[in-house]
Symmetry: C2
Subunit: 439 residues, 2 copies
């Protein structure tokens, strides 16, 4: 099926476009901002991910003929709006927090400046991408932090939607993972791919020895053999008999992983396979990883809990109008007053201040364009907003494989700059406060 990312949206964006094109407000200049009012309960920080995918989607926003026909046949918009959509592309500007950056409640994660018409069409797509990808990256960050220097690999594709799986692999790498089992993600984003065999591989053979011999014949002695299909001790013995002490690794996917890893390590060492690595992969989350710190494990495969955000499968990010042109052509801060959902009017600047080289506060400064232009921040503060799109021109440095690896590195650096409490798995408040100043 032919499709456009412009239909990955809620119907009301098109009905709003239609009404505002009719009354002229579709052309008003606007600022929309993405932020969250809260982190998932007990979390100390969040990690931004998905921005590069939003930039990819921006290029894919032209509506296909069959999409226009659908909008027209269903009577969702008028003929005049169809004509407007035929020429639609996003010509506004986008700035915000870079991928791999830490965010907190009220951080202005992304800021869109453009006409009401073009900005309103982006709402759902932008939120879908950021809410899911950041949920995964935030969980990945806690996991890689708990795993210390041992590599974590994404094996969660089977426990989330098939396209979400691809996005999750990418977001996991932003949050500190080293690679993924997912082949489409590996291909699309140039990620490291890993994986050797499942239990069915052992079972389809007449014996475990047959299976191991077959795997080594195909993948070499440096492969990882899965040793828990029948009896782990026997499997390890067979594995070393078949591969010799050059065996690359063994994987344990069930049982008490800490105890089993120790037994298998002892057995491997006794058999002379002292360089053979141990990978464990059974329903791990950040707490299990922390508990395995002293077990002789070399790497982790993480599945379900990674791709479902470890208890927080989505972020609560919203996309809100904070400033718009009035009938008089002047830009005005605006805010809704809905109970428990009020917004801070005006576009935002965002900085982080440091004390003894550790972050100690997020500073959000809000106001009209004019007031913000006259504002001078403390020269020691770090500016958190970078430019992604300038009047429709996408800066290529934020897309593709390099951008993901840069985000991975930035995440490590930014995490190291947070107070050490950030890496505690105990529930608590955001590790640094956010101070909002309205000019």
């Amino acid at each position: 099926m032919d499709y456009s990312a412009a239909l990955m949206t809620d119907m009301y964006e098109y009905t709003m476009l239609d009404a505002t094109l009719k009354d002229g407000t579709a052309n008003r200049k606007c600022v929309f901002e993405v932020f969250t009012r809260r982190l998932p309960e007990g979390r100390r920080y969040g990690v931004v991910a998905g921005t590069g995918r939003i930039l990819d989607a921006l290029e894919d926003l032209h509506l296909a003929d069959e999409d226009l026909r659908f909008l027209s046949d269903r009577g969702i918009v008028s003929k005049e709006t169809i004509a407007w959509l035929e020429n639609f592309r996003f010509t506004g500007s986008i700035k915000g927090y870079r991928e791999g950056e830490m965010f907190f409640p009220n951080s202005p994660i992304l800021q869109f400046e453009g006409t009401f018409g073009e900005c309103t069409l982006l709402e759902t797509l932008v939120l879908s991408i950021l809410n899911y990808d950041s949920a995964v990256a935030s969980a990945a960050s806690r996991m890689t932090s708990a795993a210390k220097n041992r590599p974590c690999m994404d094996m969660g594709g089977r426990r989330t939607n098939e396209w979400a799986a691809v996005a999750a692999s990418r977001a996991a790498v932003v949050g500190g993972f080293q690679g993924t089992a997912n082949l489409l993600a590996a291909k699309m984003y140039g990620l490291k791919a890993i994986g050797t065999a499942a239990h069915c591989f052992t079972l389809v053979h007449d014996s475990e020895r047959d299976a191991f011999e077959s795997q080594i014949a195909a993948l070499g002695k440096n492969t990882t053999l899965l040793v828990d299909t029948y009896n782990i001790e026997e499997a390890v013995k067979t594995a070393v008999e078949v591969a010799g002490p050059e065996l690359g690794g063994v994987r344990i996917d069930s049982g008490d992983l800490a105890a089993l890893a120790q037994r298998v390590r002892n057995q491997l060492d006794a058999l002379g396979a002292t360089n053979t690595k141990i990978t464990v992969t059974n329903d791990l989350d950040e707490y299990a990883l922390a508990a395995l710190q002293t077990a002789p494990v070399d790497s982790y495969g993480v599945g379900t809990m990674l791709v479902t955000g470890s208890g927080a499968p989505t972020c609560a990010m919203v996309y809100k109008l904070t400033e718009r042109e009035g009938a008089d052509g002047v830009m005005q801060p605006v805010m809704k007053k809905s109970k428990d959902k009020a917004t801070v009017p005006g576009r935002k600047l965002a900085y982080r201040s440091y004390e003894y080289n550790l972050a100690d506060c997020e500073h959000v400064v809000s106001g009209s364009e004019e007031k913000l232009a006259a504002y001078t921040p403390d020269p020691e503060w770090k500016n958190l907003l970078v430019d992604f799109v300038d009047h429709g021109e996408i800066d290529p440095q934020w897309r593709g494989h390099e951008a993901i690896m840069n985000a991975h590195d930035h995440h490590a650096k930014a995490l190291a700059e947070l107070p050490i409490t950030a890496q505690s798995l105990m529930r608590g408040e955001p590790v640094i406060p956010t101070e909002t100043t309205v000019l």
Copy 2:
């Protein structure tokens, strides 16, 4: 980017294919089964969804040239395997539970029969689709049950991956929802689409009255106006002034929904707008819907908790080899013995028995093909397995819009046949037991 669903998978499926093509076991006839060992904690039943999407994906399994190049360039498989993949299509058979059917621990939800090579490539894709779609349908079922006869609409797209959003809309309808805000889902699956305006629509205008007038000019008086941007009471007054008593509806998206709905109903009635409907949409889940039963609400928009499975964002479904041809050409039941993850050997039959027209037990019968052929179930039992694919031929009745609406109807019927405890929101055991018999 060109892509094939065949790459939406874990790398080990290709390395296993490669090794088994080399040793010949790739051609062994196999039975793989999808089941779950447990429901999410406290849940009484699960609802199958996603099968139609699996059938859609089966048609999309031929690998594109660039996919083959990727597998080859990365050295994931050998040249001989690339040649095999060039001609790959699934020629096996699939049977299982229909969409909208209830499942329980150990229900054989899907059963794949084919060669090891072709079946093993499907594992991740099948599980991704079923695990996510069934998680959403299971949550949707509890929500629509709690909402009684009031329609529930999916508005959750922004809180899950952009493609997961499309799948969630579809799964929600299987689980009893009436429609969705997501346009791509509406287009792809012929679903009812809904939505009118967000807060930004009110804010972009110079006044709430301007916004309401604009919306009515574009969408007619039968539209739904969002009344909680500033002050609800004033907004309702303005809404009826602008639209008259023919106003279609109002939407409340914040605050104490039960109390507000009652106040707004009273106000609408006093203004003569007795037919104007009330929709509420603020962070609803099945518990909130149950609590709103006596409030004067006409329909619900459900978001975050729907698309994240209301606390259970994935099912724990697995895809396991249960029977395969041996070196002697004879089919043999097989099982892994991994701790806490052992499997029941042999392919399965599945029936549901009833007492006084209510389901009282799931009967799973396992054994070799031969033994099952000789088995006679109780004539009163209902056979739960239907045929989806016969030697590569997909039965069209299980795909597309009609199949979704049939699944929606089947879900309602099957839910009505469960003991009433199924509809309790209290945590408990699966509402009927599953008896497994190994012949």
